[in-house]
Symmetry: C2
Subunit: 452 residues, 2 copies
């Protein structure tokens, strides 16, 4: 069971107001950084500053890394120079890169000046990698070994240098040019006899990523090979860092959220719900809704064009929402299956023909079932059998078309290097509205034999 | 860079046909199990059986774990008893549980008989935990230490017993009743002086999960605390297993896929796209589509009820798809934001009032903008200003309502312990069609002053 916190944020606030700092300090030392973060999140900025004074520097740096970027910025403005130096100095390089990424430029310049010369050089180097790349995600704190060491010497090296490393469970064997030639696990070193050579224990059968690879690619490779950490090499093929699985878990969550938002037609806000400013989110949402609203102009044009049929056979209008709804839903289903398959790497573009074939069959299957159902359903609303026939045939044809568009569109977008996730949801349903209405009224025109 | 495979599946097939087994065996020993899996995936079953003969037993078990359940079942039918015993015996207990979970019951019974008595008892115990629970996901292969050991003795224990353990990087300290009292990392053991007591090195400030906790909860806790492994305790609070982060990464992918599918109204197929049988997927898709089609009966009823207005003012029909589309999209946006926030744990039910307040403001903001846009847009389609006013006012009111329903519905479902993901997409848009049409025609009725 996850520990239940003994104190609530309100109680922490009251302790601060009553200056019961000793007691609070003791309590904070008994809980884990993610819990401290949750506890102080609702507090106002001056109370947060006080809590940070009560934490030791390692914990302070960890809690600080977990806060929202807005809070981090506010706190840095409140902290004295010594406190800033302490926290920034103690943060992991990858967390620090992420922080600098989000802060205003002049603030980053001021902060970088507070770092030691080596850390400053490192921070500048990491910030030079493209956003969302492996270079931004990696930490340069890994254990480097020489292939001629013995297992015993290797373990001794790990004991001496391991304290500040991101992981000591995998060591990276490099040649004199800094090229990665093998990986050896602490398990293998520890289970081997101490005089065995690292060269004989390391595996040369490993995967690595490049500094410029996208973080989504990093997540894919790490997941595929079930790794705890993956080495990152630069343009000269030199080992420059490692990425550990905990950072990749965050990437996986982030990328899934991004896809969910894109599919709902929200131009992906990259902050959590409550941290996103109202008008930023509002603008992002409104933008897509307006685009779709303007696009749906086409459906009005189609309806206006066929208004002579509607004037004669008013009941045809009763089934418009059902028709556009059913086809939108069908298209959304096939689009989601393909988008998710592409995202997890389980569907690839070379499967194109196989998917088309499968989805034609699926469309026909769904078309027959839904066509029959909607024919029956139409008879309940209106007694004219020709209405039922028009609706049933229209559903049959448009479900096949909708299913096809839903599965083909994401693959075309992927081919054009556009994120396929945007094709689902609102986008596809607006597009399908027009096709569905065209099909419906063309069929009705024939069945009722009405001419303009 | 990920290694590019030298041979394609076709070439492997040709090597098998030409009986160039020695060469193929050498090649397979140079690539990693996930790559072997991809390479043999397109081969037919007899060729797969041949490849498995060429793999050593550890690699064979790993590749076997990675295959689709259909392939696993087929292969087990082809393998001799010795081969089955070898592969099943070598598999990790958690992978074995997953396999048994998917195979037909009589086959599982036969397989369990082939296991050693201890493994048989273990398999039966693990299979007794509920599906998708921590008990199913865990492995009982962890390192157990006593608090009175020294660091040196602990490392010696790890060296002796570590070979078959899922991880040797964390050891679990238990008391005489098997209750977990602390966790110590190999890092701390290795960096400490060898005569230091485990008791002084272990942390007692740890989190654990319960055997019956849902795998989604396991993923949430492990992600929150950035853990590599999490201990699992049973009803008596005894330590019975651990779950490692690599298995959780799979759970995160799986749960995200499940939510994507639910949001698209596909009753979550739990197999990848191509492995799902056509009619199983077809039935699942059709089921939801039929439910929604029947539900959309309500929208036809509303339209039929107001047909006297449509008969007089036909152009009102031109804007039905635009209206239902815009409101569906708005509801989908807010539902997605809330559903995803609930899934990542970043929104909680106690935020209810705060969300309502925020979404009322957001609805009003979007309503004003979209109302104005649709008023202008309506004027382009039809010159009657009263049509434009009806459309604009209807969009304003229904966008506010849609936004509210979209954000409240997932929270109500969550409260009722129903997965909120099902409320997005098709479900919400069908529901909103009805409300939107009711609002539209009530407003038009007043503006055009038409009575039935």
């Amino acid at each position: 069971m996850e520990k239940t916190l003994v104190l609530s944020s309100d109680e922490v606030k009251r302790m601060i107001d009553k200056r019961r700092f000793f007691e609070l300090k003791k309590y904070l030392s008994e809980i884990l950084p993610p819990d401290i973060m949750e506890l102080i999140d609702p507090l106002d900025i001056t109370d947060k500053v006080i809590v940070f004074r009560l934490l030791n520097k390692e914990i302070a740096a960890e809690v600080f890394s977990l806060l929202d970027h807005d809070d981090q910025e506010e706190l840095l403005k409140q902290f004295g120079e010594a406190k800033i130096r302490e926290i920034i100095g103690e943060m992991d390089p990858d967390d620090r890169t992420e922080l600098f990424d989000e802060l205003p430029e002049n603030m980053v310049k001021a902060l970088i000046k507070l770092l030691s010369p080596e850390e400053r050089a490192l921070a500048n180097r990491l910030l030079n990698y493209p956003e969302d790349s492996a270079g931004r995600l990696m930490t340069p704190e890994f254990i480097e070994l020489n292939k001629n060491m013995t297992a015993g010497e290797a373990i001794e090296t790990i004991r001496k240098t391991g304290l500040d490393k991101e992981t000591i469970y995998y060591s990276y064997v490099t040649d004199c040019n800094g090229h990665l030639i093998g990986i050896v696990s602490l398990k293998d070193l520890l289970l081997a006899s101490p005089d065995k050579k690292v060269e004989d224990l390391m595996t040369t059968n490993f995967v690595s990523v490049h500094t410029h690879d996208d973080q989504e690619e990093v997540a894919r490779v790490l997941t595929k090979y079930d790794l705890v950490a993956i080495p990152v090499v630069d343009n000269d093929n030199k080992l420059v860092g490692i990425i550990t699985v905990d950072d990749v878990v965050d990437v996986i969550h982030e990328e899934a959220t991004e896809d969910f938002h894109k599919m709902a037609g929200i131009e992906a806000p990259d902050e959590p719900y409550f941290s996103t400013k109202f008008f930023i989110l509002g603008r992002k949402r409104a933008l897509w809704l307006i685009v779709l609203l303007v696009t749906s102009y086409l459906s009005s044009i189609v309806l206006k064009h066929y208004s002579y049929i509607l004037q004669v056979v008013v009941p045809l209008a009763f089934f418009i929402p059902m028709l556009t709804g059913t086809c939108g839903n069908t298209g959304m289903q096939s689009a989601t299956l393909i988008i998710r398959g592409l995202a997890t790497g389980e569907i690839e573009l070379r499967d194109f023909l196989r998917i088309i074939f499968r989805e034609i069959l699926m469309g026909a299957f769904l078309g027959v079932i839904l066509g029959l159902f909607s024919f029956v359903r139409a008879r309940f609303v209106d007694t004219d059998p020709f209405i039922g026939i028009s609706v049933g045939v229209a559903v049959f044809v448009s479900v096949i078309v909708a299913n096809m568009i839903g599965s083909v569109l994401p693959m075309i977008l992927k081919k054009l290097k556009i994120d396929p996730a945007i094709s689902a949801g609102p986008f596809i349903s607006t597009l399908l509205d027009v096709t569905t209405l065209l099909i419906y009224f063309s069929i009705a025109e024939v069945i009722f034999n009405v001419r303009a």
